[in-house]
Symmetry: D2
Amino acid sequence: MADLRITVWNEGRHEQKDERVRRVYPDGIGGALAAALREVPAAVLRAARLDDPEQGLSEAALAETDVLVWWSHVAHAEVSDESARRVQNRVLDGMGLIVLHSACESKPFRFLMGTTGRLKWRDAGEREILWIVKPKHPIVQGLDGHFVIEREEMYGEYWDVPEPDELIFISSFAGGEVFRSGCCWTRGAGKIFYFRPGHESYPTYFHPQVRRVLCNAARWAAPVPGAPPAFGNRKTGWL
Amino acid sequence: MADLRITVWNEGRHEQKDERVRRVYPDGIGGALAAALREVPAAVLRAARLDDPEQGLSEAALAETDVLVWWSHVAHAEVSDESARRVQNRVLDGMGLIVLHSACESKPFRFLMGTTGRLKWRDAGEREILWIVKPKHPIVQGLDGHFVIEREEMYGEYWDVPEPDELIFISSFAGGEVFRSGCCWTRGAGKIFYFRPGHESYPTYFHPQVRRVLCNAARWAAPVPGAPPAFGNRKTGWL
Amino acid sequence: MADLRITVWNEGRHEQKDERVRRVYPDGIGGALAAALREVPAAVLRAARLDDPEQGLSEAALAETDVLVWWSHVAHAEVSDESARRVQNRVLDGMGLIVLHSACESKPFRFLMGTTGRLKWRDAGEREILWIVKPKHPIVQGLDGHFVIEREEMYGEYWDVPEPDELIFISSFAGGEVFRSGCCWTRGAGKIFYFRPGHESYPTYFHPQVRRVLCNAARWAAPVPGAPPAFGNRKTGWL
Amino acid sequence: MADLRITVWNEGRHEQKDERVRRVYPDGIGGALAAALREVPAAVLRAARLDDPEQGLSEAALAETDVLVWWSHVAHAEVSDESARRVQNRVLDGMGLIVLHSACESKPFRFLMGTTGRLKWRDAGEREILWIVKPKHPIVQGLDGHFVIEREEMYGEYWDVPEPDELIFISSFAGGEVFRSGCCWTRGAGKIFYFRPGHESYPTYFHPQVRRVLCNAARWAAPVPGAPPAFGNRKTGWL
């Protein structure tokens, strides 16, 4: 089995400023994601952060990434248009992208979707249930119908994204709202999966089924071998 | 504005046997649906029931129907294959079809979808909230984000239907389940809308927003004028 | 790698009656399909025909089939409703189905789609070009942009099927028509692929890229392991 | 019937530099488009060009536009990111957008789609046939199955766009290529229609069926009345 080179990109700001987040994620959110993704067969993991050179998103780093896992929240605006454009282009070129939680309003995701990614939200530590609406999809392998996260931030519809190519999960929250919590899109040669759970103040990324989804999604998003599509001038036809 | 000929087909069995249903729906479920649909501009309403001649689904009756509204539950098996096939063929020919609540397991809907329509359920009179996930769609005109039904039967995912062409509503229930409560499909020249609410023991079809959806959906499902597509042997091409 | 049990079901009538078809397909259309599918890794092949006991479609035979490949044309009407219903139910249960050429009007496909499958056609032995519109899809692995079949029957739009979940190929014909020649649907737990080429009077199933598509599609349509979705009464919720 | 304010935005460069284009379009491409769109009931037309102040795309001009029709080709790069972003935001806010021919590589369309819009092409004045694959859709009202343009530029698949929400037309070209020539997307509250024909050196925008499609599409893309979706913090839920 060929290596799957996964880069976990984490904004990394809550962990610096907020003692409570450090208590939940002693190795940072990125550390918890990397620990989860180590279960992916043949995974080769690399960490990247906003404060790295070139925001951790140099051409070279992206060229060596098969699947990029992205968590961001308070620093969306600090990601430069150039960085976001490089991520976008690399996805169109075939890199997989796993977009987590509040990163639905991040620049790379907005550039790829064309929409705002806005939604309703409430941070009250309430129960979330994720229901599978696409059984047999590779991303839900090993899961059984639904799973429960005891305390999470609520995200509610309407969520401003393009109609997903495949809708995998719908969440309900104790407060009554619903959300399309797992969605797949293809853009160019790249596969994109958005997965809702993961507020910084809850231990969501230690949840066994959440981790299972992350691993399944990384495998699913792996680039497909083969030549890229051809474009441009065709001198002659078949007549 | 041309007439819109709406036939409300109601199985009509609960009303005969169950005093509680009669108390909720003194004019029957079909009567409440017809009262709601009278608000559709230019609507011409007709009632039909399982116990009518030819099960209320003769070729002639269907030929004079632009939109068929269908409620059924305990008597799915009594609807003959021939009746269901006539409904299916008339939909393929352009008739709109509004499928309500437990009719997701009725024969006409199963024949059109190709799937079983099975789901999870619980009759505990619990709160349902319907969230709009396709704002600006004709079926949600005049509604605002979501609406609440205080007491309803629960339907839960996974629901065995083809991926909808358009997903309009997602419901959450007090018990935590979710459901794709408003879904659109096109089959042949006909438009189909499934709308979840409407258990026989709750006064759901008197709910103002439910009635608004019914009226919007009937308008949306109206047959589109124009010649049917051509099929068959083409003797020559353009070469 | 687990065995993939592929049953090639061929109506088998042209080969009995028509000397020209026998010349093109000395081992029958089913024989050519089986020869192609022998290239699928871990494939275990079985042949079935309309004239076999229970039309080659007994419960037992279907239960032991992972992927059913179906070719039919002149004898659509002879396939009993019961046989077609068994195929439909087994697909909903997880069996893959590859539907070939004129089988778009066969009963199993019509029962699963809910539509007529009708189209335009012309048998003039004209050039077909199949263009890939979903690069990187598993069904087009190893293909490069498009391929040409020198002589085929023409099928033209409008084709009466539900919107495909994924559109893989679009054909153009020398006469100027187009067709959605490769389409994917999921119904229940089963995956369905329709592939257009394969008129009985042309050696299409010896074409290397056609054979590649057949093999890719059989792999793609393989049943996904895991428990089936749960349905029925839920006594309690999460409140 | 309320006014439908249509702005025809034409890059306007070929007409300045190329005598042949002036001969085909004496009033410019924008002039021909406006003449076609005058047939839309209640249309109020306005012209805009790249060389206008603020590139013809000021906040004020867009705010007064219900449907923007966009033709561009040689000057894609001159449209500023700011102008393109204003168009994108106004579409998300509800404005309809009709994207014509080579404008599939323009900035506003690329910003809304997230993809490159690249394709194959050949300018050989060859026959294009547009086949309807979504009969009964509002955009094909009054058309009958297909129509022919005698001389056009060829565009061929693969075309790098997101899966369309609705596929309306597929073209075949005399040279054998195919193209998804009419596609619908929704982004935010706005409807987008891409329509392929319209190379500057052919009189395509005088073709009666092309004009019919333009008029139908402008009506289809009209903003839907009603409040925009709500976003942001919800203090309480329903518990």
